[in-house]
């Protein structure tokens, strides 16, 4: 539901970057989204497609890279990829500290 807010922010950041670089058209906007963010990609694309109309990004598409959830044990220091949000260390009695999966980044803007 907050995808519209995210799409608005993405568009504004991309348009600012394009203007600063005197670009006339944006082709692609690259995003990195962690798996532990509440983002529905379909809703994000839909919102972006509505908002981009009549801007430099009119023909732009979102290129989305997803980042899996990974965490490091606060005791044994081992790194694990999480599937089911289990933040207990599978190998000792430590607790896993989130390392990746919360990314909400705009990586690049491809324009001319």
């Amino acid at each position: 539901m907050h995808e519209a807010t995210l799409a608005e922010n993405i568009l504004n950041i991309a348009l600012d970057a394009a203007k600063q670089n005197h670009a006339a058209k944006i082709f692609k906007v690259g995003l990195t989204l962690g798996e532990m963010t509440g983002v529905e990609v379909e809703a994000l694309n839909l919102s972006f497609d509505v908002l981009k109309k009549n801007t430099l990004a009119d023909g732009a598409e979102l290129l989305i890279k997803r980042v899996p959830i990974s965490a490091t044990c606060n005791k044994c220091g081992k790194n694990f990829r999480l599937e089911r949000y289990n933040f207990f260390c599978p190998e000792c009695d430590g607790i896993l500290i989130l390392q990746s999966g919360r990314e909400l980044l705009i990586d690049f803007v491809d324009c001319e």
């Binding site: 922010n9 670009a23 289990n86 933040f87 909400l104 980044l105 690049f108």
Partner: protein, 215 residues
Amino acid sequence: MEIKLMRNILGANDEIAAQNRKIFAERGVIVMNLMGSPGSGKTTLLEKTLTRLADKIKIAVIEGDLFTAKDAERIEQAGVDVIQINTAGGCHLDASMIQKACVSLNLDAIDLLIVENVGNLVCPAEFDIGENFKAVVLSITEGDDKPLKYPLIFKESEVTLLNKIDLLPFTNFNLQSAREDLTTIHPTIKIFETSCTKDTGLDDWEAWLLGKVAR
């Protein structure tokens, strides 16, 4: 040409949240971001909490609501300063809404600011408003599967209130598995079992909350 950005999509919100957090710290205000589904009992919990704490600490409330002032009217009855934010359909509160609302609050006269977020288990978890901690209310009637279905909000929240606990015998809610799922997602999460209509568990909740403010 490719312009490298590597910028946080919510960076603008996070910057304002950081400003809010700095102002709250300077003024000595502890801020709780109270979240949960529509109908989980956030406002009733708030009413009970205000009644209990009224003569102990100074509290103000910011009420997030899609369209109405119904909750704010309820809170006003408790004799507490309340600011209403109508998000007009928006699914969450953000840092700039809190910044604007705080203009009409005398922060120096407040110990605890409670922000009741829009009823929703998804979006509010993603938006930092400059709070000290997040609290999430999960009512028994919503089902014990909610922690695993909406892990982010439980990961982000320092405390969960399993509310309407008096209704447990009338549902298939499995308290043990809900507790296990909550601690699996967030090993250090604090859990209270409460019923605001039966006054169950509220002493412990009150003591814990007072502890947060005294710190």
